[in-house]
Symmetry: C2
Subunit: 464 residues, 2 copies
């Protein structure tokens, strides 16, 4: 197993020979910049930061690192929330943001071909310019790269109707830690030649291979979209409304909720006239044909009324729709401003268990004397319990860790998962065996070894 | 590597102790019945046929086989077309059709939980009874089991809009060849805890593990569906119409085509009044809201007219829709009755290359003096070139093999695949390296070894 190590004499020059002097950084500024990602409280100092521009450069860098047993942590913008791109064992941070070309948007084959360093929002805009939609829309999409999204199997707000990143990965070019360049899949929805490595790489968190080209499925852009919102006395009422909506034959594009803590935080911050006395707010939306949208919003509104909604609002214009969505968009920033430290989690449960889970989270928060607001994707049970605290308050940090321990355990009891879309990284590795069991963990390690015999790629994370 | 071997003395009694005397068959009838699947010209005699009823029984059988180094070929109904379930190295055929319970259809979580031996049509009907749809609809769905569908990543006619089997696999319980029972995923659309083994198992053709429970995603059933058809002078015209349809913002549920050979064969057999002078027939359909269906059929009809359709018909009633679909459904049986042997293939290309590919297939058929009709899923480029011949005519069989060699090579040149939905099995293993390359093949073998260190599970196929 590779451990933290300085770059040996000579290796730096060989790296420079591969990518050019400007693209091998060992100065303090670069080492500090690439010591973290978007995960609080996690940090690891790299020995060098290398910016590769082609698959061949990536292959050469990996061959050099593999020969020397030096850790390599591939990354894009580093927006992940599980410390998956923190170089906690030192070595090389391999940055792929120079590989930022959208190579093709094909409206006849309905695919995009792009390099991993393209920002997700750029891909979405390039698709939109041809009347197409790239559905995954993780919260970080304006900053995150598509390579990072695939490596983490990013989710987003549209997953209930459209699925997650994995559902859009048709083809991958990737470099193995030992330097071989392989391709899996291509431009085809149907291709069963070999094991499905493209989907195995999706969500593998940079531990199996470095992806250097992605072919992604696109769909025709919907003609229109519409939104509504409903307040409920209790979260359990909102949860029943979610089940009723889904059992009514509607598959909404958006079905998001905020608990009372979040409603209060958003109103306090954004002053958009939310009803802070309500126990829960449900935001629902549909896209597609205008007549279908109107009918589905009506049906969803009816489901909310049946389950005891206090008040209901259907947005009549794009401006009103923006106001409705603003409540959801503002949830995380509003919570974050309450305290210096924000611990954003993503325990996920079957949607029929949402009420139980959120009530349990609220009980845990009271018991540990923590402020935890929960918002999230009600349609797919993907909850974001978010604790806000002061990291200078060591006891509060300790209490928050203990609280999340209990929250993850409860999610598993409810047939859920410790992570819906944020990944395992470093921060959840210690919970993973609880979910998967020892036999499954041993298999993950054997799969990791099949790709990475010397354990150089993102060591100490998934598959370790 | 395990090779053909008789069941050692004592092992038979141990197998009987696991599953009961009635469920270990070594009589001639059983050995002959389970020597083949739906693949022509492939056969292999098993040493025993074992019918397991639980995951624990599967685990015990695998442990016994693993300890003795005896091949195990798991199967359901054996409808696959690539000899993936032919026991060509002998050993145990492990039949899962006793595991045939639909355990749950949840309309609030939108999932089905079932055993692998449930027939796909039974699952679809159980979902439909609750107003839900299980979208994958492979041609064999009335006979095939859902376990086989997942193992092969079956496709079907709705893949363009709804995707293939992999897109519906949320959770898997599986037994490793060494006997450990693992679970990957569950009831959640979003779950990124660990490598995505459920999708790795999907399409792994029974070479990595034996699946014993499946949790599948369902969607609300569409309210209605509608169909139309258009004839074209040449196949290239129909292919351009396909591209035009997709670029027009319509994502149809059905977009199928028949070439002239198929049109002739269907009319000859079914006498449904097809225009046998046309070069190609395109069948298109949409589901969902009635108004959207009407509009999309109109748009698709317009795209066909623009690309030179000779005639166009929109079905005005369910009966007319059945007539339209009958042309497509009758393609394979109509071709099959022309000669004793039917070689049904599934070379697949990007949809923008369909015309090139089909013209190439027609040229190859002329050159090798073969009758090859091509029909298939135009929307996803999944072609079914189908050669009909007499297996007593050894020279014709040889010519057919040479013709398909060229067809597969051409599919790869056009960025396609040697198999869109039928799998590698035995019959395409010799082509696989041409598509994937030696480095990728070596990786597949390492992954296989990570699951199956003694190579007992379906040896000599994928991962060998």
């Amino acid at each position: 197993m590779a451990t933290a190590t300085a770059i040996p004499t000579g290796l730096r020059e060989r790296l420079i020979a591969v990518v050019g002097r400007d693209h091998v950084r060992t100065d303090e500024g670069a080492l500090v910049t690439f010591s973290t990602d978007a995960t609080p409280l996690e940090r690891g100092r790299p020995d060098a930061v290398v910016f590769a521009a082609t698959a061949e450069e990536v292959a050469s860098v990996l061959r050099l690192a593999n020969a020397s047993g030096i850790p390599v942590v591939p990354r894009g913008s580093g927006t992940n929330l599980s410390a998956g791109t923190v170089p906690h064992r030192g070595g090389i941070v391999l940055v792929l943001t120079r590989m930022n070309k959208v190579k093709e948007i094909s409206d006849s084959d309905l695919v995009a071909v792009c390099e991993p360093g393209v920002r997700t929002i750029e891909l979405s805009q390039a698709a939109a310019a041809k009347g197409l939609l790239y559905p995954p829309d993780p919260g970080s999409q304006t900053t995150a790269t598509i390579g990072g999204n695939v490596a983490e199997c990013a989710g987003g707000l549209r997953a209930l109707k459209y699925g997650v990143t994995r559902d859009y990965v048709l083809g991958v070019e990737a470099v193995l830690p030992t330097g071989e360049i392989i391709r899996s899949g291509g431009r085809l929805v149907k291709d069963v030649a070999g094991y499905d490595l493209r989907r195995l790489l999706c969500g593998s968190e940079g531990t199996l291979a470095v992806m250097t080209e992605l072919t992604l499925r696109l769909v025709p852009a919907p003609e229109a979209s519409g939104y509504g919102m409903a307040y409920f006395p209790e979260l359990a009422d909102a949860a029943r409304a979610v089940s009723r909506v889904l059992a009514s034959g509607v598959l909404p594009v958006t079905l998001e909720f905020l608990d009372q803590v979040c409603i209060g935080a958003v109103e306090d911050y954004a002053k958009i006239g939310l009803d802070t006395s309500a126990g829960a707010l449900l935001i629902f939306g549909q896209d597609g044909n205008a007549a279908v949208i109107a009918r589905d919003l009506e049906r969803m509104g009816q489901a909310c009324r049946t389950e005891g909604a206090i008040s209901l609002r259907i947005a009549e214009s794009p401006e009103e729709a923006s106001e409705v969505l603003e409540a959801r968009r503002a949830a995380l920033p509003s919570l974050s401003r309450l305290e210096p430290l924000t611990l954003l989690e993503d325990a996920t449960v079957p949607r029929s268990r949402i009420a139980e889970m959120v009530e349990y989270i609220q009980e845990v928060a009271r018991r540990y004397e923590l402020k935890i607001g929960t918002f999230g994707h009600a349609g797919d049970g993907n909850l974001h319990p978010t604790a806000v605290l002061d990291h200078a308050d060591e006891d509060a940090v300790r209490r928050a860790r203990a609280a999340f321990d209990e929250i993850f355990a409860r999610a598993l009891e409810l047939d859920g998962t410790i992570t819906g879309e944020h990944g395992i990284g470093i921060v959840k590795l210690r919970y993973l065996e609880r979910q998967l069991g020892a036999d499954h963990m041993a298999l993950l390690r054997r799969i990791k070894a099949a790709f990475d015999p010397n354990g150089i790629l993102n060591p100490g994370k998934l598959g370790s």
